[in-house]
Amino acid sequence: MELHGSLNMIGYGLAAIGSAIGVGMIFAAYINGVARQPEAQRILQPIAMLGFALAEALAILGLVFAFVVGA
């Protein structure tokens, strides 16, 4: 059986572990905060979403570079 494709994708899969852990921790902290103090949800939601966007940015940049860099 022959396998075709780019090793970049395996590297990207490994790289995505980092931001996956980051996103998981952000939402764990957010859920924790809201569970302890439900009225803080409106304050915490933008912070959690911005943190999620920043952490996920790494995974997205990784995906782009996996496609772009030396296929």
Binding site: P46, E56, A57, I60, F67
Partner: protein, 268 residues
């Protein structure tokens, strides 16, 4: 590798690649410059027609006790207005941003859901160009909001964090410039494009893989795996539906967060 050797097939399996999302143009006008009129553009026009038709017909003769369609439209509007607009931008000046958020959310949502409708089966935003256009509109909007509210001082407010000791500034300011003005619009668009493209790739992979396993492979076990792939792709379909709605929500939510950040740039 011999342990994994498949029975000799008459034709080799070719996995779908990213170039398979480029369908032939409907109107090949200037297509060599990438400006042809393709399926994505047809679907974007279709989505606008559908959204306008749905909400117009839903509120054509409004009743005090809403019917099913009116209830759906009203609760969808209320979800965007209260859940995204009022909660994020704040009680004081959210009302003027509701039209933008509402249009953004439903435009992205319907274009994502096209990926789940048979025969259309292609999310418009699986093409990076469509997602870039959306993100550029939002990018221009929140910069304009910041400059309008704070003048040219907005750029200083946006990149110089307050309450940080002076010696760390040479490190913080370039980081803030990169993260706010370069990475932010890129990730805003590519997050949508990457998830939609991944969903579309799963559809293509399941379809071509199942076809290969059932039609080309001769052994019965491989055919059975092909049937299992089709069954598994149904579960992936529902996961994709969830992701499509979630990504439209995240896109609109980030739009609201960026606009709120520009409005209250001096608050923190």
């Amino acid at each position: 590798m011999t342990a994994f050797a498949l029975p000799t097939a008459t034709e080799p399996y070719v996995p779908p690649s990213i170039s398979d999302t480029h369908l032939p143009e409907v109107l090949p006008w200037l297509a060599e410059y990438g400006t042809g009129f393709g399926k994505q553009m047809v679907m974007i026009i279709l989505s606008i027609i559908l959204i306008v038709w749905f909400f117009k017909s839903a509120i054509k003769n409004p009743k005090l006790v809403p019917g099913k369609v009116q209830f759906l439209a009203e609760s969808a509007y209320g979800c965007v207005r209260n859940g995204i607009g009022r909660d994020i931008i704040g009680e004081k000046n959210f009302a003027q941003w509701v039209p933008l958020l509402f249009a953004t959310f439903f435009f992205v949502l319907l274009n994502n859901l096209f990926g789940a409708i048979p025969f259309l089966q292609l999310p418009s935003f699986s093409h990076a160009g469509a997602a870039y256009a959306m993100a550029i509109i939002i990018y221009g909007t929140w910069i304009a909001v910041g400059v309008k509210n704070h003048g040219i001082r907005y750029f200083k407010l946006a990149v110089v964090p307050s309450g940080v000791p002076g010696w760390i500034m040479p490190l913080m300011v370039p980081l803030e410039i990169i993260s706010n003005f370069i990475v932010r619009p890129l990730t805003h668009s590519l997050r949508l494009m990457a998830t939609m493209l991944a969903g579309h790739m799963i559809v293509m992979l399941a379809a071509t893989g199942a076809r290969h396993l059932i039609m080309v492979q001769e052994s019965l076990a491989m055919n059975a795996i092909g049937v299992a792939v089709i069954a598994g792709s149904v579960a992936m379909y529902f996961l994709e539906l969830l992701i499509m709605v979630l990504q439209a929500f995240v896109f609109a939510l980030l739009t609201a967060i960026y606009i709120q950040g520009a409005l209250d740039a001096d608050a923190h």
